[in-house]
Symmetry: C2
Subunit: 213 residues, 2 copies
DNA sequence: ATAGAATTGTGAACGTTTTCACAAACTCCC
DNA sequence: GGGAGTTTGTGAAAACGTTCACAATTCTAT
């Protein structure tokens, strides 16, 4: 029950993330108990799906009642690995990089940007809210020194493969990539892409095929 | 053959987007023909998958040879609706909004930001590279006047549902949402989310469950 | 205590997506 | 022109993910 022996699908993980957000909203409103029905109603899924997702990891509800909001929140946070806080490096202090760095929500959710790296001499050395921007030439030693768990890559697509190779060389196992490039990494490294062009293209497809649905 | 009578899965659309990018790379290198094998090798999929994806829409290859790079590129662009250019509104001229607006890649791929709206009196009236920022109070008339097809929402999560309701009221059918909020829209409206917090949480999950795989 | 109402947890059914495997179609070279 | 070598397009099989349906459990009220 405690461990998760089964294979967990990508979609289940995404939905857990969603449920957690809903639970936080319920908690703010002072709701103490929710049913799978209510949890599903808040977003694009079904009550059965909610129960299946949760049942992979254990049995957190009470039959006839539902789920205790704070408890389920804690459990999902534990499952997702959000009980601890993660040390994050930001490579590329450009437009996207700056937006991410200034966004307070990541820190409150346990992702602390402890390192910022850039290539541009005009940016290197600057102090961003207490964090000194370091030169990307020092990437390997800096990531090791600052004990980084996760790297966010917000560099131009032309250089992103070089950067990722170096990031991988210091045993970083998790990468969030903003460049519209399919990265080549060893298969014990997880890469998640934020590919906005792809999202827009999917919208375009939906628009031209609207009639056919 | 010409039309697409079948149901097309989300993942197929995403992969088409990917193939298009690879084709553009091949085209730049002067490669005239690629096999499904080569197309698959560039990214995380298989040759059979490539062929299945394409076969939904027609038969674009030559047995024994492969696919003609420029032709397949044109076909995928047509399938995705990228032959035309799309008129895009940006709501929220904050950090993310500014990064998106300044990003030249969208325009070159056929997505033109023709309208920028914000709430902040300090921002309204400013000229961003030829585009005047208009007050969000004029959203309905502005979107109609500027014939917008797609809305990008980069506003705080507290107001995003209000904004989306108004966007939907003027018959916009495609939305790219950056707020970490599950939007409620009629079901003829397509919403794609860019949820970075969710991506980070998925990385967190992958890190804590690394051992179990 | 017990009946009645609510809701979970889960095996089984179903549907969708991916992979397999191979005949058909094409190329290339001798 | 024919045979060897490729590679596509696609049914069929396998894997995977979602939905169904219901016994088991808990709560509430009397
Ligand atoms: N801006 C957007 O809206 C947007 C949208 C989609 C995708 N992207 C992608 O995100 C990435 C960043 O985009 P951006 O708009 O922030 O670009 P940007 O040019 O504003 O920033 C890139 C930053 O990376 C730095 N850099 C360049 N080479 C480097 C290296 N080798 N090592 C470290 N830093 C280096 C630059 O000095 C700059 O500060 C790009 O890959 C882009 O394609 C951006
Ligand atoms: N910055 C990031 O890295 C980041 C990361 C993930 C998600 N997001 C999400 O993206 C959205 C925008 O984030 P941001 O960092 O750019 O915020 P921001 O505060 O920098 O920008 C928000 C902009 O929206 C404007 N605005 C406020 N209310 C408005 C309204 N009713 N109508 C129109 N405009 C209005 C503000 O004036 C401001 O210009 C938020 O929902 C945020 O949660 C941001």
């Amino acid at each position: 029950m405690a461990a998760s022996p089964q294979k967990v699908s990508e979609s289940t993980v995404r939905r857990l993330s969603l449920y957690l957000r809903f639970l936080e909203e319920f908690e703010e409103k002072g709701v103490t108990t929710v049913s799978s029905e209510e949890l599903a109603g808040r977003g694009g899924t079904t009550a059965a799906q909610v129960r299946k997702d949760l049942s992979i990891f254990g049995s957190f509800g009470k039959r006839g009642l539902g789920y205790a909001v704070p408890l389920l929140g804690r459990e999902i946070r534990r499952i997702l690995g959000l009980s601890r806080s993660w040390r994050v490096a930001l490579v590329g202090a450009g437009r996207i990089g700056a937006a991410l760095f200034e966004y307070p929500n990541f820190r409150t959710r346990g992702f602390r940007i402890v390192t910022v790296l850039d290539h541009d001499p005009k940016k290197v050395g600057r102090l961003w809210d207490g964090t000194r921007i370091r030169h990307v030439d020092t990437l390997e030693e800096t990531l090791r020194e600052t004990k980084v768990d996760i790297a966010i890559l917000a560099v131009p697509e032309e250089v992103v493969q070089d950067v990722v190779d170096r990031v991988v060389s210091v045993e970083i196992k998790a990468i969030l990539n903003f460049a519209p490039t399919q990265l080549r990494v060893p298969n014990d490294v997880v890469v998640n892409d934020v590919n906005m062009a792809m999202e827009l293209e999917a919208l375009s497809f939906a628009l031209v095929n609207r009639a056919l649905r």
